[in-house]
């Protein structure tokens, strides 16, 4: 992966105002974010934390109150960039009186694609999102999941380099969710960049390379998923079944040397834990970014962790208490 920035925001802020220009809500506060080419980036945060606002600012649907955003090297309000972008909105805002074939044809035309190319592309996408059977039915008759699927197909009509997905798995059945995740990973394998928002943390954990957590419009956490989830203060030892003496002995050994361990691992918490902790902390420390232990508390945390080394029996992984 090279580190060329596909999306770059500089102290991006958004204040929603009412008709008279009075401030209603500060939806985004001084966001600095970089998304690199070829990665899957997850944007997390509780409801109303500004995820959708961020996406809309990136797409030029909203104008920033302060700061700026660059996407694929051009300013967010520039329409030319849209040529290489695919966007799946939060809810599928499509024309309900069209059927899915017409929908894809319509969006294909908007990319100035000639008829033959449009036909091939929509054929492929309908197959991909498994809507071939429902292609002649108007979107108003679609179920929520089907609407999501056609929304996804529409986002991919131009074979985009950068895909922005707002809650891609919402409304999908488990199978659809699985497909969606495979598809996102597949997109990355093709060298495309994906930025997604989601609440479904397990999905994010499965696919994302890096995540950012927003709360009340502020960036709280930013980093690579594995690093963020590494519990640096804890060392996990996995051995075959051990007697009490053996454990005691190992403890003694640990005190002297470190070389005789059979297996040393860094067990992970779940993304869910991190998410919840972040949101709770945010309430206690407003306006401050949550620094994961890996960066700040490494020294102290290691001392504390020595007292509670978990020892797992058998092959099963064990969580830290």
């Amino acid at each position: 992966m090279n580190s060329e920035a596909v999306i770059e925001t500089r102290s991006l802020s958004k204040v929603y105002r009412d008709f008279w220009g009075r401030k209603k809500v500060r939806a985004l506060n001084s966001l600095n974010l970089e998304v690199h080419r070829g990665e899957i980036f997850g944007l997390l945060g509780p409801n109303g934390s500004g995820k959708t606002t961020t996406l809309k600012l990136l797409l030029g649907l909203l104008f920033p109150t302060e700061g700026s955003a660059e996407i694929l090297g051009s300013p967010a309000t520039d329409v030319v960039k849209n040529q290489r972008i695919g966007y799946l909105p939060e809810e599928s805002y499509l024309y309900r009186f069209l059927n899915s074939e017409e929908t894809l044809d319509f969006y294909g035309r908007l990319f100035n694609m000639p008829r033959k190319e449009r036909k091939e592309r929509s054929e492929k996408l309908l197959e991909l999102v498994k809507l071939t059977d429902a292609r002649k039915r108007q979107l108003r008759e679609y179920s929520k999941g089907m609407t999501r699927r056609i929304g996804l197909a529409q986002a991919l009509i131009n074979d985009p380099d950068l895909v922005l997905l707002d809650e891609p798995t919402s409304g999908l059945d488990p199978l659809g969710t699985r497909d969606m995740k495979d598809l996102i990973l597949n997109l990355r394998d093709q060298g495309k960049t994906v930025l997604m928002c989601s609440h479904v943390l397990s999905d994010v954990q499965d696919v994302c390379d890096r995540v950012a957590i927003l709360d009340s419009g502020e960036l709280k956490v930013l980093g690579r998923v594995e690093e963020l989830l590494k519990n640096q203060g804890v060392t996990q030892i996995r051995t075959s079944t051990l007697s009490d003496e053996a454990v005691a002995e190992i403890k003694a050994v640990v005190a002297k040397h470190n070389s005789e361990f059979l297996e040393v691992d860094h067990p992970t918490t779940t993304l869910e834990d991190l998410f919840l902790k972040t949101v709770r902390d945010a309430a206690d420390r407003p306006g401050q970014r949550y620094i994961p232990p890996s960066e700040s508390e490494q020294g102290q945390a290691q001392d504390a962790a020595d007292e509670e080394v978990p020892v797992a029996a058998g092959d099963s992984d064990s969580d830290s208490e």
Binding site: F97, Y107, R109
Partner: protein, 539 residues
């Protein structure tokens, strides 16, 4: 006939247009520039000019395929929402109309007039509300349902959105209009009987410029006023030197019709003069009048036989004059109208009244040369095209308003502008020029309060000056708004068709076309700017 066709002066119109549009856009840009400076400070000017360049680029890089996609989308949306049910209303209307319109005892021209007026008026009033409602709701609904968001995240420019919408609504309107036009035409053909159908013609008149000589034979601005309040016609006294003179231009071979029997070319002069009697005289006999062809540069004056003008006979008075006129004692002299009497295509005809003490009334449109007939279908088609142009103007107005405000507000605004433009534009023009009786707002209030009739002048003092200068302010406002509201009566060509005339190009279609383009072009730009610099998301 009461209309007075004046050829449209394209150049003067263009200059005037450029002035008004220049002022409007200058105002828009200055305000935008100042706003940018106010909100961005030192970066304002740079931002402004970047956006200006981007806007110009938007127009240079438009894609026909994208516009067509949006046009088709608009058309599909409307047709799936079943707008074409107005066709049903139309059919029901004309089915019942037959009961009230049909009166075969009437003179054929009157029957034709009634049918044609009804048909064109119905079509106009049916199509207009439908397209206005559709166009006012289109973009706001698209924004509200956020489907436009998905569209603009594709490489679609805002001008393409505006144009696509306009074309789409126009396509719907055009389909509906054509269908109603064809159906209406067929229905008229079926409901009118054989004899009446003969009156469905499209006469092609060539009008001249009128000028006057008074009783002493001196040039005058008008003829006599016989005390008629309605001053459309003015009068020439019988057996005096008073004359009404018409100057026709562009006379050539094609200005003559072929005599059906001999095939000889002849000039058809058709007149609708009026008579004013200073005494009753012999009512059975009309008033005598006479045409004289005048070619001053060759010193030729050729009179043809006098004819009778009868005020109680309906219809036009037609006189056919062979191209080669024989005149003088024993008809020994002859003159060719085109070669001898016309001077480089300019033909002057003097009209005099020969009956002593009686008066002949004339207006510019009372004398014309009739060219070979056009088909009624073609003039009906032109009237439909007039409605089409009005519809287009209304659509562009509505779509562009809906780029700025929400549906209901856009509808109200468009409705107001259309009603004013259709019915009150003449009044507006009068108020703007200060010609309206009873003065301005304050003066009017004072007159009502003190019971002073409009024809009593106020005393000339400082208070009057004060009132007049205050009244100038609303008058100025009306003057400005008159330039921003189109005169939709230009598009109404019913009068021509109903009276059996072809619709002239330079006096009928051209001003309508100019009005349509003159308003639509700047509106489209303003609508585009409004949509471009509008945050779609925030409500």
């Amino acid at each position: 006939m009461t209309f007075n066709p004046i050829p449209f002066d394209v150049l003067a119109g263009l200059v005037n247009w450029a002035k008004v549009v220049g002022c409007v856009f200058a105002a828009v840009f200055v305000i935008a520039f100042l706003l940018q400076i106010a909100s961005r400070g030192a970066q304002g000017p740079a931002f402004f000019f970047r956006q200006l360049v981007a806007s110009v680029m938007d127009w240079l890089t438009m894609s026909p395929r994208r516009i067509w996609a949006l046009t088709l989308l608009t058309f599909r949306e409307a047709s799936r929402r079943k707008v074409f049910t107005i066709g049903v209303i139309f059919i029901v209307l004309i089915m019942f109309a037959g009961w009230f319109l049909g009166d075969s005892t009437e003179r054929p021209e009157m029957q034709v007039k009634r049918y044609v007026s009804f048909m064109l008026t119905t079509i106009g009033w049916l199509i207009l509300p439908v397209v206005v409602i559709l166009s006012c709701w289109g973009i706001p609904e698209d924004i509200k349902a956020r489907s436009l968001h998905t569209v603009v995240t594709k490489p679609v420019k805002r001008n393409e959105v505006v144009l696509g919408r306009i074309f789409g609504f126009n396509l719907i309107g055009t389909v509906a209009l054509l269908t109603m036009g064809v159906a209406g035409y067929a229905w008229m053909m079926r409901s009118l009987n054989e004899e009446t159908r003969g009156s469905l013609t499209a006469r092609v008149p060539v009008y001249g410029e009128i000028s006057w000589l008074n009783k002493q034979g001196n040039e005058a601005l008008q003829g006599d006023n016989v005390g008629d309040i309605w001053t459309f016609r003015s009068y020439i006294a019988g057996n005096t030197k008073a004359r009404a003179i018409w100057d026709f231009t562009g006379i050539d071979e094609d200005s003559f019709r072929k005599n059906p029997q001999t095939g000889e070319p002849e000039l058809h002069l058709e007149s609708t003069f009026n008579v004013f009697r200073s005494f009753k005289g012999d009512l059975e006999r009309g008033i005598l009048a006479r045409y004289t062809f005048v070619n001053d540069s060759r010193g030729l004056r050729v009179s043809v036989d006098p004819f009778e003008v009868q005020e109680f006979r309906a219809g036009a008075n037609v006189m056919t004059i062979p191209r080669k006129i024989t005149y003088g004692p024993d008809r020994s002299l002859s003159a060719d109208i085109l070669d001898d009497l016309a001077d480089d295509g300019n033909l002057r005809i003097e009209v005099e009244c020969l009956t002593t003490s009686q008066y002949l009334g004339a207006a510019q449109s009372d004398l014309f040369i009739r060219l070979p007939e056009q088909s009624f279908a073609s003039s009906f088609g032109k009237a439909i095209f007039g409605i089409w142009m009005m519809m287009t103007t209304a659509i562009v107005l509505s779509v562009c308003l809906s780029c700025v405000v929400k549906g209901p507000v856009a509808m109200l605004a468009a409705g107001c502008i259309i009603v004013i433009g259709k019915s009150f534009w003449g009044f507006l023009a009068k108020v703007a020029s200060g010609d309206v009786e009873g003065g301005g707002v304050i003066e009017g209030i004072i007159r009502i309060h003190r019971h002073i009739t409009p024809n009593v002048e106020f005393q000339e003092d400082s208070r009057r000056q004060l009132v007049e200068s205050i009244d100038k302010v609303p008058q100025l406002y009306v003057q400005v708004s008159r330039y921003l509201i189109p005169d939709l009566s230009q598009f109404n060509m019913t009068e021509y068709v109903a009276n059996g005339f072809d619709i002239p190009f330079s006096a009928g279609l051209l001003p309508a076309l100019a009005t349509m383009l003159g308003f639509c072009i700047p509106w489209i730009f303003l609508g585009y700017l409004a949509l471009k610099f509008r945050e779609l998301e925030s409500k």
